[in-house]
Amino acid sequence: MRKHNQIWGIHAQPGKKANIILLLLPFILLVATYLAASHIRHQENPQDKLLPSATQIVKAIDRVALTEDRRTGKYLLWTDTLASLKRLAIGVTAAAIFGLLIGLNMGIYPGIRSLSFSFVTFFSMIPPLAVLPIIFISFGVDEFAKIMLIFIGIFPIISRDIFLTVRKLPQEQITKALTLGASSFAVTYRIILPQILPRLIDAIRLSLGAAWLFLIAAEAIAAMDGLGYRIFLVRRYLAMDVIIPYVLWVTLLGFLFDLILRTIINKRFAWYADRK
């Protein structure tokens, strides 16, 4: 039997062990480089704040996540997480629902397409961060403005993605449904809608990154709590020992949501996952 190379070249067939090692390698390199750099800086200056050591970071995590805040009596990390997730969830859900409805109807009904296609395309070209001042001026600095920024930021992406998905469905399907006695309404909401739901989840997965960006930008500018608020607040004291865990936490949350959504697709929409 010919022995296959496990790592190099186009014919490589990484085994189970090799796979795990390769997968972990970049992470290990990153952490090792950081720790080494941190160690060097601390040898020169034990008070260094730019690259906090592992002990400093653990201490900071203990302070923000496991100890009550002296001033407010709350656990900062959890309060921040809850506040941020609430904004994110409402903003993304609203954008998903509206994006789905607009994209779906725009894809199926020519009249609605003529009415809204150019408008949605135009709307999607507005850089959301550029209108951030307008949003804060018109909706105040409360929760609504932050949710609005997320909504404005990702609604066009989702609606256009859904629109393109609907347009790509074979016209034969609509014809077929009509010959089986479906009304226009039934075609739209009973034949096409269930078919694009998994694509909607994919669209949400893709736009979650953008949603986080807008959330953190909004929180950085005007908020009383939230992950973005905290990161930008402690930046004033160069508190890298807090910023780094917060960033890692945000990343982990994003990764988790992606995983959850992907699992939903695989479990609930097997026909979609298998077909690809």
């Binding site: 009509l178 010959t179 006695g181 039934a186």
Partner: protein
């Protein structure tokens, strides 16, 4: 153009003076009448407009001029009176086989009635599933079935609504030869049992002869009184033969002398750009066949 055939609009399927063009003329004055119970196959060189003709009857295209009637009523948008089986995309990927078959019942029904009659619908779908010999496959999704099985489900799905006419657009075109032959036999059996009217478009002459009780040849290779500018002419029905069921299978049919003769004839009538009949000489032997020519066309 007035005709003496007006009472023919009462025929089962009746097309008269139908024109259709996109960038060029595709269908050029189509006159066609089909009786109930007929298995009508349509052949012709590629790009002659076979599918366009089917799409007109289906209602997804409208003719530039001319009339289409089914049961004496003008053909409108796609509706349950005309069933359709495409080569692909007839099934809905997000529904199980059983749910796909049930659609003809569940789609026109409101939510509450649907809940109430669910059991009845499932029973009926199971009956059709058995009819297409797929018992026990009801819980699978279309992508888990082979191409032939998918087309069987598509046929069952169309039968549930008992359409007046079943339109089929090269339904077996993507199947391998064995499956294809099996499906042809199966379709004939079903046609015989259900007394269906079928309008079947194919590019395969053997298939057309084997299945049809009538074969139409659609072609742009002919001449008429409009001069020699062939390129601007659209397709007409250039020949129309009644066929007799011989019970010979589609693989055997190739060596049957009658078949060989007919193939040769049809190839020269419709498929050879070098041989062009004049419109007045078309071989329209079928009793339902008729032709309404304008004076310019009929001129020599």
């Amino acid at each position: 153009m007035p005709t003496e055939n007006n009472k023919l609009t009462n025929k089962f399927l009746h097309l008269e003076d139908v024109y259709k063009s996109y960038d060029r003329v595709i269908l050029d004055d189509i006159d066609l009448s089909v009786s109930k119970g007929e298995f009508c196959t349509v052949v012709g060189p590629s790009g002659c407009g076979k599918s366009t003709l089917l799409r007109l009857i289906l209602g997804v295209e409208t003719p530039d001029s001319g009339t289409l009637h089914l049961h004496g009523e003008e053909v409108g948008h796609p509706s349950p009176s005309r069933g359709i089986v495409f080569q692909r995309y007839s099934l809905f990927p997000h529904l199980t086989v059983l749910e796909n078959i049930m659609l003809g019942r569940t789609l026109p029904t409101g939510l509450f009635e649907r809940r109430r009659r669910k059991k009845e619908f499932i029973e009926e779908a199971k009956y059709y599933l058995e009819r297409v010999r797929l018992d026990g496959q009801g819980d699978k999704y279309p992508h888990e079935l082979s191409g032939g099985m998918q087309q069987r489900v598509a046929i069952a799905q169309s039968l549930v609504t008992s359409p007046d006419i079943l339109l089929m657009d090269e339904p077996f075109g993507a199947l391998d030869p064995d499956t294809r032959e099996e499906m042809q036999l199966f379709l004939l059996e079903l046609w015989d049992e259900q007394k269906m009217t079928v309008f079947f478009v194919t590019h395969d002459l053997e298939e057309a002869f084997f299945l049809g009780t009538r074969v139409l040849v659609l072609s742009q290779y002919y001449t008429d009184g409009r001069g020699d500018n062939h390129e601007k002419r659209g397709a007409k029905i250039v020949s129309d033969h009644p066929l007799h069921k011989t019970g010979i299978s589609s693989t055997q049919i190739k060596s049957d002398p009658n078949f060989i003769k007919l193939t040769k004839q049809i190839r020269s009538e419709g498929f050879d750009p070098k041989i062009r009949q004049h419109v007045n000489e078309f071989n329209l032997k079928h009793p339902d066949s008729f032709q309404t020519l304008s004076k310019v066309e009929a001129d020599r």
